[in-house]
């Protein structure tokens, strides 16, 4: 999201306006999505707080788990979005700036509430963590960072590959596999889904991945959730 609208970019750049978040959230909740992840993607870069009024309206209309992220820098931010109806809170740049936020939030709200979202891409052959919506190279190693996060109470990981984001040629299997091998919490793979077959490939090749996240192919109606689930089911993958 940016400025109260749902947007989508390619490799995190060139964001296109898609829709009203409330309408889109409601549509996904009704058509079988298993979870909604709501990121205010430029909140960190623009240094402002998340749109709590829109969030509250989304939460009022959807009855599936809701993860919220973007501009989460403190326990007060956790508190604010949880009161608006979020079930889990995703931290990214805020945790990179102050890693103790992960353990402090896990102690107060429980690990099940703390999702560590990581944007990573290959730099000189190493998976490297980026902050501020992919704008800032932190120099941190992805695997070391997720291990640290899980040891300190992150209950779930969302791994966004900047290399495959918006490219629609499939998930970044190599990056997702490396993360799954390093930790024992649910991993949600993100970035690169272009068609239903990409989800089949993800779950067949990497059974340790717990979920696949996609945005543009759902936003633009290229893949319908009900049809995707049917295809997964026919491939022998356990879905709701």
């Amino acid at each position: 999201m940016r400025n109260g609208r749902v947007v989508k970019g390619v490799n995190f750049e060139g964001l296109a306006d898609v829709s009203s978040p409330v309408e889109l959230g409601k549509y996904y909740s009704e058509c079988g999505a298993d979870e909604l992840v709501f990121y205010d993607i430029t909140a960190s870069a623009e240094g402002r707080a998340l749109f709590t009024d829109i969030l509250r309206e989304v939460a009022r209309q959807i009855f599936i788990p809701l993860t919220v992220g973007g501009g989460i820098n403190s326990l007060e931010d956790f508190d604010r979005v949880l009161k608006c109806g979020a079930d889990k809170v995703s931290v990214n740049s805020g945790a990179l700036r102050d890693p103790s936020l992960i353990s402090a939030a896990a102690r107060r709200y429980g690990s099940q509430c703390v999702v560590l979202s990581v944007d990573a891409k290959r730099v000189d052959g190493r998976f490297t963590v980026f902050a501020k919506g992919g704008r800032e190279n932190t120099g941190r190693d992805l695997i070391e960072w997720v291990r640290y996060g899980v040891e300190n109470g992150a209950g779930e990981l969302v791994i966004n590959s900047i290399d495959t984001d918006g490219v629609k040629k499939g998930f970044d299997l190599e990056m997702q596999d490396a993360v799954c091998a390093a930790v024992k919490v649910p991993v949600i793979a993100s970035g690169g889904a272009g068609c239903a077959a990409d989800f089949v490939e993800l779950f067949e090749k990497l059974p340790a991945v717990d979920a696949g996240l996609a945005a543009s192919i759902f936003h633009f109606g290229e893949v319908r959730i009900a049809e995707l689930k049917e295809k997964l089911r026919r491939s022998g993958i356990n879905v709701r």
Binding site: F63, I64, P65, G110
Partner: protein, 205 residues
């Protein structure tokens, strides 16, 4: 009117929104006296058992919930709210619950294979037991609901109405007369969850 018991833990907003979506008027309350005026009571909860049990005790809400339940008022406990209905929990020590359903709350780590992730988090199918429940009268066998938990209700077999399989059969729902509990979150379980809440809200008093 349905009273949602507010004892300072958990996300009550989703539950309220779900009840509004099925047209059931509900009121969030932290006043033990208000429970007497309600037609039905929902005990929500997320977090640690010991802390929640202490809050219920100190606020007088625990006694009020028990009193109403024993007088026959329908009561639904959700997630930690369900675990609190049992006699005791072994989450970090041993702690007393409300004792409205016989049984104990134990770590799922005791019964599931070590390679499975804890908490048990995500969507899972409901398998009904031979004890049929009015809560599930708008539901089909095998429909999925949303779980997040590391402990489960044990030693309560005669009261279990549904299980979920996660390396072992874990209690998903239990009931004892007018007292109902769901380990999963109906307010986060999409359309199936709304039908379960309807099953509770439309119980004849």
């Amino acid at each position: 009117m349905i009273a949602i018991v507010d004892y300072g833990v958990g996300n009550l907003f989703s539950l309220q929104s779900s009840l509004a979506a099925i047209g059931a008027p509900a009121q969030v309350t932290d006043d033990p006296k208000a429970l007497g005026a309600a037609e039905k009571i929902i005990l929500p909860g997320v977090g640690a058992f010991e802390d929640a049990a202490r809050r219920l005790r100190e606020s007088g809400l625990g006694d009020a919930v028990c009193e109403q339940a024993k007088a026959g008022k329908p009561l639904l406990g959700i997630c930690l709210g369900m675990q609190l209905l049992f006699e005791r929990s072994f989450e970090f020590g041993e702690h007393e619950g409300l004792g409205l359903i016989p049984g104990n709350v134990r770590p799922i780590a005791e019964v599931i294979p070590p390679q499975l992730k804890i908490p048990h988090i995500g969507w899972n199918a409901l398998h009904f037991t031979s004890r049929s429940s009015a809560l599930f009268r708008f539901l089909r066998e095998g429909e999925c609901v949303y779980f997040v938990h590391s402990y489960y209700a044990a030693d309560c077999k005669p009261y279990v109405t549904a299980n979920a399989e996660y390396g072992a059969m874990l209690t998903a729902a239990a009931e004892n007369g007018n007292v109902f509990g769901t380990q999963f979150h109906p307010e986060k379980s999409g359309d199936a969850g709304l039908r379960i809440l309807r099953g509770f809200c439309e119980l004849e008093v």
